[in-house]
């Protein structure tokens, strides 16, 4: 069979692109795009592995959209939210799988986005001309966390009810506008059906509407500026630097990473399906050991610790102020660390990164150890 198919394969390879491709190309002009893809290259060095994490985040986001739309088919917000999630989980064929894939891929997406952010940080890929990449990325991270927070409430079980109740106290502490914000977001004096209804609108309409254009802008910047190389690599002479074509080399590796991510989501969703607790009951006492999702854990623990050092409302306001200051500093890093050839600010910034990363890890582990 191989011997007889060999001449045909050769003929196909030798034939000029015609037929359907040519018909479409004449109308849409695909050739310049393909030419661009052929000339695009990606730097190759010992830190290249970290380049894949943006793509992995993107893939997990696409998976979120797909599984999210599928959940939308059966989910009913408001008074029916718990019952509809119960039906999805226990009645609808493979509903448990779709819901678990959505939850697992959400968590993995937050993780991938954090890895992506820290790798960009340590490669100093926020420096000129990539400042807007850093800022749009931070905005996407913020939206991702709001996605997580709003999605967590939708099943309206005991745990999601109390997590949201506690979580909404935090914006409530902002002096002046705090109570106004919680009034609007919560839709009442307590978390209830009205809250689920507006979290739903936020989760499936408002956030995607903000996220998608920002994501396109972020991807456009990646295309425009290409991958940044870490300073150590940039310092090497041009002849020693290596790169691979984006298409097909890097693209194939990207797809392989996507496949690995898909497998990880599938394995986790199948072996550890997401459960559903008892329905939320405003009169029930808060369960022992209540804690937020892992990506809010370090802030939660830091607030708890600060509360011990500086008791009372002042401690919490101080904590909020401290977080805000750190966030602002984190955002203006590209304006602070501008020199391209090392120096005091570059070293200081790297240390800030190590402290942030270590702090996040230590407080998260500490938080889980003491719940």
């Amino acid at each position: 069979m191989a011997a007889s198919s060999y001449p045909e394969a050769k003929d196909q390879a030798a034939a000029p692109p015609g037929g359907l491709y040519q018909w479409i190309d004449e109308r849409l002009g695909l050739s310049p795009i393909l030419a661009l893809a052929r000339h695009k290259t990606v730097p190759q060095h010992r830190h290249s592995f970290w380049y894949y994490w943006g793509g992995i985040s993107l893939f997990l986001f696409l998976l979120q959209m797909l599984t999210g739309v599928l959940l939308l088919v059966y989910f009913r917000p408001g008074s029916q939210s718990y019952e509809s999630v119960r039906q999805i989980t226990y009645d609808v064929d493979f509903g448990w799988l779709i819901r678990s894939a959505h939850s697992w891929s959400a968590n993995l997406m937050v993780f991938a986005v954090f890895v992506h952010m820290f790798s960009v940080f340590f490669m100093k890929a926020y420096r000129k001309p990539r400042e807007f990449g850093w800022w749009s990325g931070l905005a996407l991270l913020g939206l991702t966390m709001v996605f997580g927070f709003s999605g967590y409430l939708l099943p309206m079980d005991e745990l999601s009810y109390f997590a949201t109740k506690v979580g909404l106290q935090i914006p409530g502490m902002i002096p002046g506008v705090g109570p106004m914000i919680t009034d609007i977001v919560r839709g009442g004096l307590d978390v209830g059906e009205a809250t689920v209804q507006r979290f739903f609108a936020l989760h499936v309409v408002v956030l995607p509407m903000l996220f998608l254009p920002l994501l396109l802008f972020h991807l456009f910047l990646v295309q425009k500026h290409g991958n940044a190389v870490p300073p150590a690599e940039a310092a090497r002479p041009a002849v020693e630097r290596r790169s691979v074509p984006f298409f097909p080399n890097f693209f194939t590796m990207d797809l392989a990473m996507w496949l690995i991510a898909l497998n990880v989501v599938t394995i986790l969703a199948t072996l550890y399906p997401w459960g559903l607790g008892a329905p939320a009951d405003p009169l029930a006492p808060t369960p022992i050991g209540i804690h937020p999702e892992w990506y809010f854990m370090s802030q939660f623990q830091a607030l708890k610790v600060l509360g011990r050092i500086i008791p009372g409302l002042f401690g919490e306001i101080f904590g909020m102020g401290l977080f805000t200051a750190v966030l602002i500093f984190w955002a203006v890093i590209p304006l602070f660390d501008r020199e391209t050839t090392g120096g005091r600010r570059a070293r200081l910034t790297a240390w800030v990164g190590y402290v942030m990363l270590a702090g996040a890890l230590i407080f998260t582990i500490w938080g889980y150890a003491t719940v």
Partner: protein, 158 residues
């Protein structure tokens, strides 16, 4: 290339390997598509599958006290199908599937015109037998067997 390799021309070898790789990747892709597509299909098809299972029921029992009396028709669901139980003035009961055989509209009982009528395209059926009297329907309405027992009208597949 090591010397002890069989002397197949290089191009032949690479083409064999390429064909094998392409087949492998294609087969793997098909496996992935199937194993992702199947749960999604089953997930989306659940209500239809459940409704079809509901349609497998053999009988429907309606208490006579719930029926309005002779000269009227009562709509009921046989599984998931809209169906019609007609109580004629002479006391007889007949029951039909109430879905027009033309394009699926639900038919209506018109005792004043002695007919079952489909308002969509004017299909007209005999109110005793369900046969087509006029209009575009290709065949009559499916009729059910009706028995009256213990204060209930029992409708079953004939």
């Amino acid at each position: 290339m090591p010397r002890n390799m069989p002397s197949i021309p290089f191009e032949d070898q690479s083409h064999n390997r390429r064909t094998l790789l392409q087949l492998g990747v294609g087969a793997m892709g098909a496996c992935y598509a199937a194993s992702l597509g199947y749960p999604v299909y089953r997930y989306l098809a659940t209500p239809a599958v459940r409704a079809r299972a509901l349609g497998l029921i053999k009988t429907v029992s309606i208490p006579t006290k719930d029926l309005p009396g002779p000269g009227t028709a009562t709509m009921f669901l046989f599984g998931s199908r809209p169906s019609m139980l007609i109580h004629h003035r002479d006391g007889r009961y007949v029951a039909f599937d109430a879905v027009c055989s033309h394009l699926g509209c639900t038919v209506r009982f018109e005792p004043e015109n002695n007919r079952i009528f489909c308002p969509c395209h004017g299909g007209t059926y005999d109110m005793n037998t369900g046969d087509v009297v006029a209009g575009p329907p290709p065949k009559g309405l499916k009729s059910y067997k009706v028995e009256v027992a213990d204060g209930s009208v029992v409708v079953s597949r004939s």
